[in-house]
Symmetry: C2
Subunit: 197 residues, 2 copies
């Protein structure tokens, strides 16, 4: 789906995961919050993915496609690119599976060298996992004159830095973060207390 003009009331889904106890196996939860514009929350979805697994792309696509809000959603925004540890989202593949432009928002430029070393150390299939990182394109956008720039990866040829800036402006309040990501992050963070994991 091509995005050219961004409506004030654009529907977006923002995605973030719940933390888990480090060095455990099993699954963790990922939340998707659907917003309209920069304040109305229209839905909340969740799905479980394998910790350090390889199913994040497929599970997120399933969560989004089976949402009753799927027909209204115009853009996917991920908080980062890895969920449940090193379960990496292939944003090009997610965009293809959902037919939706997909953006991964990060707040600092990633250190690719250290990511590669960590993957080599921990995973036999590190080359497949690393492949996603070789394909990402990173851009930098300044939304407000006094705010830090946001870095992001994006997918789907039609997305440009200018379109993404418009999306950010129309989906965020005072925070630098789109509301849908901010709230998905807060839901995930509520699991942080050890007794809740």
């Amino acid at each position: 789906m091509k995005l050219t003009k961004i409506k004030d009331e654009i529907r977006a889904i923002g995605i973030d995961d719940a933390p888990f106890i480090p060095h455990t196996k099993g699954k963790t939860r990922v939340f998707g919050v659907i917003t309209r514009g920069n304040q109305n929350i229209e839905g909340i979805e969740q799905v479980k993915i394998e910790i350090d697994g390889t199913d994040a792309t497929e599970k997120l696509a399933e969560m989004i496609r089976t949402s009753k809000h799927y027909g209204q959603i115009r853009v996917i925004m991920l908080n980062g690119i890895t969920f449940g540890g090193f379960n990496i989202v292939d944003i090009d593949e997610l965009a293809k599976l959902t037919d939706l432009p997909t953006i991964s928002v990060i707040d600092t430029n990633p250190n690719f060298d250290s990511i590669k070393i960590a993957l080599q150390k921990h995973f036999e299939d590190w080359e497949t996992r690393w492949d996603v990182f070789t394909r990402v394109r990173i851009e930098q956008v300044t939304i407000k004159s006094n705010s830090k720039p946001l870095f992001f990866h994006y997918s789907v040829g039609d997305l440009t830095a200018d379109i993404i800036k418009q999306i950010f402006i129309k989906t965020s309040q005072r925070s630098n973060s789109p509301e849908c990501i901010r709230i998905a992050h807060m839901i995930g963070a509520s699991f942080l207390s050890k007794k809740n994991i």
Copy 2:
């Protein structure tokens, strides 16, 4: 804490639980969403309570009192009065433990006879559980002329139907439900798919 005038930007915490597989033992999650006015989400808390247990009042009080938003919250709004099955919240006790006015919002007048029968059938300590129901005061409020009335229990002597109507008006958008309860309910409902419980 006494509530007399309700500010437009009043902070409220809305509380609802996640569903669980019926007839299971163990714990379920309860979520608390902190809003300012009728649109700004400022925080999300969670706590686990025993399914059909008796710890809901104490655990909710702990969740609220340990929240970093505790000092700003002016009112507690519960979606109903039982969480995690028949884990009943004693709203007078919750109000006392948190020093905050507490409202339980329900959308139909409860059938007390059938609640009593269910408690007698399932719990040896049914009299203790039933005691909470003998102390609730139920009021009915119509917020918008064309909407169904809301029924609610409330706690703390200072709360009146008029004050509660003001709270409802200032904390809800188009829905009849205060935003904090609506979102806590949506987070809980995202657990509904069996694969997510």
